[in-house]
Each structure stands twice: as structure tokens, then as C-alpha cells.
Amino acid sequence: MNNIFAYDFMIRAFIAAALIGIIAPCIGTTIVLKRLSAIGDATSHSALAGIAAGLMTGVHPVLGAVIFSMAAVLGIEAVRKSFKNYSEIATVIIMSTGIGLTAVLSGFVGNTADLNSFMFGSIVAISDFEMILTVGLSVAVIAVTMLLYRELFYIAFDEDAAELAGVPVKTVNIIIMLLTAITVSAASRIVGALMVSSLLVIPVACAMIIGKSYKSTMIISIVFAELFTVGGLFASFYLDVKPGGSIVLIGVAVLVMLLIFFRRR
């Protein structure tokens, strides 16, 4: 058997995956508990359009993803205001826009293999620039979730009460959305834009089955996400499958097992 760590590109992939395994559930906990899971999908499809735009224009695809997905979340917030309590309307509209844009822009991308690797993830040669970008974006997400831990909890649990207690709800909501955009973009390189949203949701779903508090749910979801991303990379390397696929499938398998063992509620 090959030694997986003998390859420089695998070490990079593991570092990036480990970081994504922390930030995805940090954001995932908040959006799942706020019942905004679908936002991950809408954002990632917009990120894909950004990736296509990046590949087309020569701007780095991950930067393209950051820009497009940020525009998407701000769009969702704007549309959401017009349909209070029907946030799915906003997410579906933005998701359709993202898919539509990807379809149109992909026609102009010379090498569709590149786009394909961003859709399903890839462990091949993460560049220095991508490494720095991933580390930077991850540090930003981790720092903000730690600083705003209490605010995020209160808003997720009871937005009205949080507002009354003086939590700057609108600002924090925008920050959550922007962090979601960043996380989705950072993860698209390895996990693939089409599978990012499941990495936001599945670890949290697993953690909610066994968590005994908000804090433990968050910590457990990080443990699961690490298990899925790192496990997925091993599978990807040794079985020669796309990392996004193996990460998500491991996650789903674990979730199904947990549901069987802890059938309650």
C-alpha cells in the first residue's frame, strides 16, 4: 500500500480538509438550528456560478466563488425581508439564479474538467495560494464563531428574545450569511460545490441525535465533520474516488447508523 503521507499534495489536502471539518459544522449548527439549512444549497450553487465565472475570466475560481456566494447571501437576506417567515422562497429563487448562471457561464469555460473538479471536489495539487486562502478564511470563520458564540446561540434559539436583550440581530444575521458564503467557497475546492451543503448539515444532524446541550452538539458535530472529511480523503486516495462523494457518503452512512441505534424522539 502507498504511504498516503508521502505525498505533499495529500498533506495539503488533509490540512485543508481538517480546517473545513471545523468551520462547516460551526456554521452548520447555526443555520440548521435557525432552520435555514437550504441556504447552504442556494449559496453553493451560486458559488459554482462564481467558479465558472472565475475559470472564464482568469480570476481564481475560489475568489469567484467567494464573490458570487456573498452576493447570493445578501440577495437571500434582501428577498427574505419581503417574505417574512417564508425564507425558503428566497433560497429557491437565489438557488435557481445560481444554477441558471452556472449553466450559461459553463458554456464559456474552456476546460470543463476544471469546472467538474469544483463540482465534485478534488484532492489534486492544492496551490500555495489556495492553501493560504483556505487557512485565512477558516481562521476568520473560527474567530467570529467563537467571539459571537452567545449571540449565535441566542439568535438561533429565540430571535425575538435576543433582539429584546439587545443582541444586534440584523448585523449578526448578515455576518452568519457571509460566513456561510465563505465556508461554502473554501470547501468547494476539496468537497465540491455540489456537496458542500451536506457537509454543513449532516454532522449537525448526527450531533443533534446524541447532543445533550447546545455546546456539546456543536463540539460533537465538529468531531463528526472531521471524521467524514479525513475519512473521505483516505477513501478518495486509496479507492480513487472523488473526495466530495466519499465524504458525503461516509456522513450519510454514519447518520443512518446513529438513527438506527438511537431511535427516539
Binding site: 438550528l33 434559539f157 429565540d158 429584546l164 436583550a165 439587545g166 455546546k215
Partner: protein
């Protein structure tokens, strides 16, 4: 001598409409520290609307609302106000949060952005949990408690920030009869300890019993602000039915 009791809430000539319906017309009332205001009225009378106005959630009204002597348009005294909403719409039962996490969250109005909890906050938490009779449930998931227990937790959440005025909109809806009595006793106990209370409830006799002041929305017309002590239950029913006007013509 009058200065002994601090003015807590003063509402003057308050009018409020939702875009198409006029809801409140000329509401006037003043509460001092230690008062217990019961708001009585049928469905759609405007009770919840009035509470939302006091909480500053509905900014477009005519007239004035002052809390602790300051107009709420100038500044809102978050750290002095507690609010307990109707249970059903306040949270999702499978939310993974413990009683402690839920209650401690409301220290925010005292601590503000980025501050961490300290030893005193913990002590304060155990004190309010004892006060609402929920000791031993600190680390239980909120969604696994009974309706009455959940409502006690929400009262504890309001109490942890040491409010001087506690606003409660039908706090006993969806709670079994035994727990209703216990919660009503708890609320009057808090009132005896000096917290001013504003409360709505569809169980009029129970509410009248604990109130010192009443705001009665009769079936047609304005809210009547009256002193409970001066009235018999029969007179209250007459005002409610719109057969009798009390303080102004």
C-alpha cells in the same frame, strides 16, 4: 411621600393602527413600582399589541410611552425589562439547549457584546432557578420538559437580568391547570418582592384576583384604566361588557 414609589410605566393618549385596522384608541395609564396590571379584553382587543408597543417593537404610534420616566423613543431600558411570551410560538422543541444555556443567554442585556460569564452569573443562575422551583433541572434539555416547566424556565430567563418590570402575554396558555395555579402564585410572589407586573390572561377572575390595577378593553370602545381596589367583580364585568364607563366620558 409620593416619590417613595418610582414611576415605572406611563402611557398617555396612545393611539395605534395597523395599516387598515385601528386597534388602540386613547389609552392612558400610569404604573408605580409594585403595581400589578392585569389587561382584560376579548380576542383581537389589542392586548398583545399594547405589550409589543411597550416593548418598543412597533415604532409607529401616536401619543407617548415612558418607562422609568424616560420616553422609549429616546432610550429603551433593556436591562430593566423582562418579557415572557406565550409558550407555543417561542421555540422549537427539538432544539438542543439545556435549561442553563437558555436562561444564561438572557444575561446578554446586562453584559452586552463579547463578555464572558463569571462566577456571579452562575450564582445568579442558580438563584433564579430556585426561585421558579426548577432546581435539579439545570442540565436537562428544554424540549424534554413539560409545558409548565418550560414556562417556568422562561420566567427564570426573564428574571436573570433582574428586571424591574415584567411583561407577560398569556404566560399560562397551554399549561395544565395545576401548573397554572403554581405559575400564578409564582408571579404574585415576584410582585410582592417588588417587581412591577403587566400581564394578559384569558382567565379573567384569576387575573383580577392578583392584579392591583386593571386595563379593561370593553367590547366597544377604549381601554379603561381602573384601580382594582375600588371595584367589585360585578362592576368589572359591567365595564367589560361596555355597560358602564368608569373614569372618563
Amino acid at each position: 411621600m409620593a416619590a417613595k414609589y418610582e414611576e415605572v410605566l406611563k402611557i398617555e393618549k396612545l393611539y395605534f393602527d395597523y395599516s387598515d385596522t385601528s386597534v388602540l384608541k386613547d389609552v392612558n395609564l400610569t404604573l408605580y413600582q409594585g403595581d400589578f396590571l392585569g389587561i382584560i379584553g376579548s380576542n383581537g382587543a389589542g392586548k398583545s399589541t399594547l405589550i409589543k408597543l411597550i416593548l418598543g417593537k412597533l415604532p409607529y404610534y401616536k401619543g407617548s410611552i415612558s418607562l422609568f420616566g424616560t420616553d422609549i423613543k429616546k432610550s429603551f431600558p433593556r436591562d430593566k425589562i423582562g418579557y415572557v411570551a406565550q409558550k407555543a410560538n417561542s421555540f422549537n422543541t427539538s432544539f438542543p439547549a439545556t435549561v442553563k444555556e437558555v436562561v444564561m443567554a438572557n444575561l446578554y442585556s446586562k453584559k452586552g457584546l463579547f463578555k464572558r460569564y463569571n462566577k456571579q452569573d452562575e450564582e445568579r443562575f442558580y438563584e433564579v432557578i430556585r426561585r421558579v422551583g426548577m432546581e435539579g433541572c439545570e442540565n436537562r434539555l428544554i424540549g424534554r420538559l413539560s409545558g409548565g416547566q418550560q414556562q417556568r424556565v422562561f420566567i427564570a430567563r426573564a428574571l436573570i437580568s433582574e428586571p424591574k418590570l415584567l411583561l407577560m402575554d398569556e404566560p399560562t396558555v397551554g399549561v395544565d391547570m395545576q401548573s397554572v395555579t403554581e405559575i400564578m402564585n409564582l408571579i404574585s410572589e415576584l410582585n410582592r418582592q417588588g417587581i412591577t407586573i403587566v400581564m394578559t390572561n384569558h382567565d379573567t377572575p384569576a387575573l383580577v384576583e392578583v392584579s392591583s390595577k386593571l386595563l379593561i378593553f370593553c367590547s366597544h370602545g377604549n381601554g379603561e384604566f381602573v384601580d382594582r381596589a375600588n371595584l367589585t367583580m360585578e362592576q368589572i364585568n359591567q365595564i367589560y361588557a361596555g355597560k358602564r364607563r368608569h373614569n372618563h366620558e
